[in-house]
């Protein structure tokens, strides 16, 4: 029995409290292919509570696949993924659900439920996981969340198709925060937005991170956004991490690909 399994066992029995030195998300030697297309070739990285890691790279380098692997929507071919020290490989759907309650995911196009209103979208996780809440408590909670992401009470009853892309992202972010997650995964939060809206989303992410101290992984190809919100950056190329560090580390790098990426961004 290896250390990870012993730790998992102890965690489940409540004999071990969440260790501050254990990363919130730890990915080791992750491989993933789709048919003959190899997307990830041995990625390793980790993120701790209160830290934001930006994952950068060209389109098609597996950035979004990495997030989907972490939240368990996709199974890796090999490698390990630990969430708060617990190995999530091969977990059944319902057991994975317990881990997902501690995670929030903002999809690239928000993925709002188009048959529900803005308020119902944000309340959706609450109606399933906080059944003890009364309707008014739920409404208050949703109202506070939407105010936190900069939406007004007049937007609550609108349908997703009636609001702008930037507002959809904010609603998606509010929904991701509904269950007060410890880990936040953001897939291209500023994609498709104008510079002003992008700046507002960046500020919002920074504010939320300061207040909630989550472990956040942001996938983006927007270097400016990454510099603004992330503590560390990881640059992917051909399924591997080419460099990981602060923005200054990237600027000091002699690696040709890194120099080209920074120059053209």
């Amino acid at each position: 029995m290896n250390l990870a399994t012993t730790y998992d066992s102890a965690m489940k029995q409540g004999r071990v409290q969440q260790d501050a030195t254990v990363p919130a998300v730890a990915v080791e030697d992750l491989h993933k292919s789709f048919g003959s297309l190899r997307v990830l070739s041995g990625i390793s990285l980790s993120v701790s509570r209160g830290e934001t890691l930006a994952v950068l790279g060209r389109s098609g380098t597996g950035k979004s696949v990495l997030l989907r692997l972490i939240i368990g929507l996709v199974e890796p071919d090999s490698g390990s993924i630990h969430i708060n020290g617990q190995d999530i490989a091969g977990l059944a759907l319902d057991r994975m659900g317990e881990i997902r309650k501690k995670m929030g995911f903002l999809f690239q196009h928000a993925a709002l439920y188009d048959s529900l209103t803005v308020a119902e979208n944000v309340a959706f996780p609450l109606t399933h996981h906080r059944r003890e809440m009364s309707r008014s408590e739920r409404a208050d909670w949703v109202g506070q969340l939407l105010a936190e992401v900069g939406l007004e009470s007049g937007d609550l009853e609108k349908m997703p198709s009636d609001i702008s892309g930037g507002m959809q992202k904010r609603v998606g972010l509010a929904r991701a925060l509904t269950l007060e997650p410890e880990i936040l995964l953001l897939d291209e939060p500023t994609a498709g937005l104008d510079p002003i809206s992008s700046g507002e989303i960046n500020e919002l992410i920074l504010k939320l991170q300061r207040e909630r101290q989550m472990a956040s992984i942001v996938v983006t190809h927007d270097l400016h956004s990454a510099r603004t919100i992330a503590d560390r950056l990881a640059l992917l190329s051909e399924g591997n991490v080419v460099i990981e560090g602060t923005f200054k580390d990237l600027q000091r790098s002699d690696i040709e690909f890194v120099k080209k990426f920074l120059e053209l961004s």
């Binding site: 759907l93 993925a111 929904r175």
Partner: protein, 282 residues
């Protein structure tokens, strides 16, 4: 130097390319069709198992189930009633003509009742619901799949097999027998009306004559076999929808395939179920 039928690799002798004649091509295509056939059934089997596991473990999605009962049941009622009414008139007209030729007009009520309740009512209800509900579920779930809404449900720690599929399939199973009863009732009513307009026949006399000599065994099994039709419609539509790929074209394919495959399997199941009923409910 290139040689037809050989692949050149620098520094190596030419490698002969495999020659595919007509028979080889047919064999390859047939293999693909057969393996695709078994893969489809295998995937459907895995999907069914996941839904069954999700359906029998809490927390149960009662609110969503009730919503689907309304969506599938009460909103299909007008269409099913119309279809049943039309069938009643058609059988009435055809039966009167045929029975008159053989001097068996007195058998008209029983002919209509047995034709509607045992044969036409269940099949027509199944096909109508397959078209309306099958296409609706297939398109809705396919659209949710391609816009990542199902992924969002799963990422919110909600089991999509329980919330989306099990509720819809259970609603189809519960509603089909009730809709069939509605179609049967409308069919018998309009069938009687079509006859009564030509030859006076009281409704009381029609019902008494039509159901005489019959027991519950003659009428209940054909009605409840539609629960199996509901299972087929719900399962195929959910499977097609939740496994969609390919954007808008994929959504269209899912909706079409849901209807076509559900209708096909429904008709095949009817053949098996009729035999089953004749053996176990003689």
């Amino acid at each position: 130097m290139s040689v037809p039928g050989f692949t050149a690799v620098a520094g190596n002798p030419p490698i002969p390319e495999p020659q595919t004649g007509l028979l080889s091509a047919i064999a390859i295509s047939a293999t693909r069709v057969f393996s695709g056939f078994f893969e489809w059934f295998g995937s459907l089997g895995i999907f069914s198992w996941r839904i069954l596991k999700a359906a029998v473990t809490p927390p149960y999605e009662w609110r969503e189930l009730i919503r689907q009962l309304d969506e599938i049941g009460s909103k299909s009622f007008p269409l099913v009633a119309l279809a049943g009414s039309a069938i009643g008139v058609v059988i009435s007209l055809e039966a009167r003509y045929s029975l008159s030729r053989f001097g068996a007009k007195s058998l008209f009520p029983a002919t209509l009742v047995y034709s509607v309740i045992q044969v036409m009512g269940p099949v027509i209800t199944g096909l109508v619901v397959s078209g309306r509900v099958g296409a609706g579920i297939g398109a809705e779930l396919a659209s949710m799949r391609v816009t990542e809404q199902i992924d969002a449900i799963e990422a919110s720690a909600i089991n999509p097999y329980r919330f989306l599929a099990a509720t819809r399939i259970l609603a189809c199973i519960l509603m089909l027998p009730l809709l069939t009863l509605a179609a049967d009732a409308c069919g018998l009513l309009t069938g009687w009306l079509a006859q009564a307009l030509v030859e006076p026949l009281s409704f009381h006399q029609f019902i008494e004559s039509g159901f005489s000599g019959g027991t519950f065994n003659a009428f209940l099994p054909p009605t409840f076999k539609t629960a199996v039709f509901g299972l087929i419609i719900g399962l195929i539509a959910c499977f097609q929808g939740m496994n969609t790929r390919g954007g808008a074209a994929g959504v269209g394919r899912a909706a079409t395939n849901s209807v076509v495959l559900a209708s096909l399997f429904l008709i095949l199941a009817d053949v098996v179920l009729v035999k089953f009923i004749l053996v176990f409910f003689p």
